[in-house]
């Protein structure tokens, strides 16, 4: 198969998947709930209010008409209106999304910075002390419930050691005295651009605990998968040849072997992005982080279906896009991908 042919096919599949996703979110929002119109009106609705809501929401139309309306408004970028706040969901998402992305990216950096080298080293010295340690660390990381780890870290680093703030993105005093002008919505970047050092420090301190909590799962995954792929690569003949040629172990490990283990690594990064994105839902609750997760869990408690479904949709679109990007990168790096 030609490379461009593969790329086109992959792109086409992604579009089909996106349409099917909209079908499912439509189903969840409009068909599954017992009475969407009553939910729209709020508690103790009158008969008239329900009738009116049924009409405004178009619930009296046949399903395919409803879906068509839903799809066309989605394509226009209209995600509907929150039941609770009566604000357009898109506007609300714009304020929450950067907070979540900042947390997710920070956690991925932490996870990969520790996970990759640890995976390489424990794969290289299989069965050694470091390998045993990182095996236990990895299993513990993927087994601990995110929300419980968050609580434990708060207990240790806030309550006992008094080193780090317990929750939020920024302290109140700092937010008042050194206000942040939002440019990207990423507080760390915004404060850097403005040269706002006191706020930058404060924001960074607030980021540490939630980012570490969120990083745990990806870290465990990354250690395990990097280790496995390094062990596999080290058994290859070209590594033996390099050793026979007397190349230093460092070069063999971190240049020759890691280069070939880069594909599984890309997969790990994709996977941990997804886990971080969904894990952030729980982390944000624990750390009162004003992002998508808080928005979503509040919506769950107040049965705000349009918000629940929109957040699901947006995160899933992110997920599909990241996976597509990874596949395309892999196809560009490694010609073997397009052959299969």
């Amino acid at each position: 198969m030609q490379r461009w042919e593969y790329l086109l096919k992959r792109l086409f599949l992604a579009i089909v998947v996106l349409f099917s996703i909209s079908l499912i979110t439509f189903f969840i929002a409009r068909v599954l709930p017992s009475d969407p119109a009553a939910a729209w009106v709020g508690p103790r609705p009158t008969q008239e209010q329900i009738a009116k809501a049924t009409q405004t929401l178009g619930l009296d139309q046949p399903l395919y008409v409803q879906y068509w309306r839903y799809l066309t408004s989605l394509l226009r970028g209209d995600l509907g209106v929150s039941i609770k706040s009566r604000q357009p969901i898109l506007t609300e998402l714009k304020t929450y999304l950067p907070a979540t992305l900042e947390l997710v990216i920070a956690s991925m950096i932490i996870g990969e910075l520790i996970g990759l080298p640890l995976g390489v080293l424990s794969g290289a010295w299989k069965g050694g002390a470091l390998d045993n340690f990182s095996r236990i660390l990895a299993v513990a990381c993927v087994s601990v419930p995110t929300f419980f780890l968050g609580l434990l870290l708060q207990l240790v680093f806030f309550a006992r050691l008094k080193l780090l703030p317990i929750s939020g993105r920024i302290s109140n005093e700092i937010a008042i005295n050194y206000p942040i002008t939002p440019i990207t919505g990423f507080y760390t970047i915004d404060t850097l651009i403005a040269g706002n050092w006191p706020a930058f420090q404060d924001v960074l301190l607030h980021l540490i605990l939630p980012a570490i909590t969120l990083a745990a799962f990806g870290l465990g995954l990354s250690i395990r998968m990097t280790r496995a792929s390094i062990i596999e690569t080290l058994n290859e003949k070209y590594i033996l040849a390099a050793r026979v040629a007397g190349l230093p172990r460092r070069t063999i490990l971190f240049v020759l072997a890691l280069k070939n283990a880069i594909m599984p690594t890309l997969n790990v990064i994709g996977l941990s992005f997804v886990y971080s994105l969904t894990g952030s839902i729980l982390v944000e609750v624990i750390f009162s982080w004003p992002g998508l997760g808080q928005y979503l869990t509040n919506a769950v408690l107040s049965l705000d279906f349009p918000v629940i479904v929109s957040v699901t949709l947006v995160v899933t679109v992110f997920y599909v896009a990241v996976n597509l990007a990874l596949d395309l990168i892999q196809a560009t790096i490694d010609p073997r991908v397009t052959l299969s």
């Binding site: 599949l13 089909v16 998947v17 099917s20 996703i21 499912i24 979110t25 969840i28 929002a29 599954l32 709930p33 017992s34 299993v139 513990a140 993927v142 087994s143 601990v144 419930p145 995110t146 929300f147 419980f148 609580l151 434990l152 708060q154 207990l155 806030f158 309550a159 317990i166 997804v274 886990y275 994105l277 969904t278 894990g279 839902i281 729980l282 609750v285 624990i286 979503l296 869990t297 769950v300 408690l301 049965l303 279906f305 629940i308 479904v309 957040v311 699901t312 995160v315 899933t316 997920y319 599909v320 996976n323």
Partner: protein, 303 residues
């Protein structure tokens, strides 16, 4: 090795070991070498027995079911209450035992339902091929495109909170993995001689799938299912933590952490006990799953 009574074993034909030892017995022989896995098995047994016999094990079964006991709230661990009492004065040990009933059975049932949906679909897709295969596989693509926690959360909140609805919601996000697994196994089985033989004597398709294909794909399915139990319990706990799933006053490890988290800094024992229970269970299942996968590896590669 002795032949069964009444059956003469010819001295010239040595019975093949593979016929006398079943696959699972061989897997068990290698599995039991793994100390961590055995510890995991012990932990799981303790939690399952604890949940099953909860009414006999605790002097406070009514508190385990949810009755408040306000006079004794926030008591730290003591002889009367080994794990302390929670914000309504309920014995935390009783809550953990009763919570295990919900948490363990939800995780377990999620996997069972996902297997029941996913395995037949995978066998059908792999055996029939063509447009049926295409439709089923594209459906798995779509469901796997969603992050599972998020999809389960959306479905569960649309269905309404509760044990059954949440369990169904998680299972709906889980089945595609088994479909993919079984399909790929079925594809390779379809070309094997015994299936071709069954076809050639005119056995109908559904009988071939039921009697010849499915029994041969179940070993990898059960291995995968065991591997998944930990994540299923983790995701159930997460949904319970968010407020879906079992509703108060009933206990679940997830909602216990959620109720205790606001008091955690000063009184960590009740959210801590539930969180530790989830952690230990998932850890144990991961030990078991890893050992099982290693032990079963030669048998998984066979097909």
């Amino acid at each position: 090795m002795q032949g069964a009574p009444g059956i003469e074993v010819s001295p010239f034909v040595e019975p093949a070991p593979a016929a006398t030892y079943s696959e699972w017995r061989l897997i068990w022989r290698s599995f039991r070498q793994d100390k961590l896995a055995l510890i995991g098995l012990a932990i799981i047994l303790v939690f399952i027995l604890g949940a099953a016999f909860a009414p006999l094990l605790t002097p406070y079964p009514e508190q385990g079911r949810g009755d408040p006991n306000i006079l004794e709230k926030f008591k730290p661990p003591s002889a009367a209450h080994p794990l302390g009492t929670d914000y309504l004065g309920r014995d935390v040990l009783a809550r953990v035992l009763y919570g295990g009933r919900s948490s363990l059975s939800m995780g377990f049932l999620v996997v069972v339902i996902a297997v029941l949906i996913g395995v037949p679909l995978g066998a059908i897709a792999g055996y029939l091929g063509g447009w049926v295969d295409e439709i089923i596989m594209r459906a798995t693509d779509v469901f796997m495109a969603f992050p599972s926690l998020l999809l389960a959360l959306a479905i569960a909140s649309a269905l309404g909170a509760g044990f059954t609805n949440t369990m169904i919601a998680i299972a709906v996000t889980w089945w595609p993995w088994y479909t993919r697994l079984v399909r790929s196994q079925t594809l390779s089985l379809r070309e094997r001689f015994f299936v071709e033989a069954a076809r050639s004597i005119g056995l109908p398709g559904h009988k071939i799938v039921l009697t010849h294909v499915l029994p041969n794909v179940m070993t990898p399915v059960w291995v995968q299912a065991t591997l998944d139990l930990g994540s299923a319990i983790l995701i159930s706990a997460a949904l319970n933590f968010v407020g879906l799933g079992v509703q108060p006053p009933a206990a679940d490890w997830g909602n216990m952490v959620s109720q205790g988290r606001l008091y955690f800094i000063d009184r960590p024992w009740f959210a801590g006990a539930a969180g530790a229970a989830i952690f230990l269970t998932v850890l144990a299942f991961n030990f078991i799953g890893d050992a099982l996968r290693d032990a079963a590896d030669p048998y998984l590669r066979r097909t």
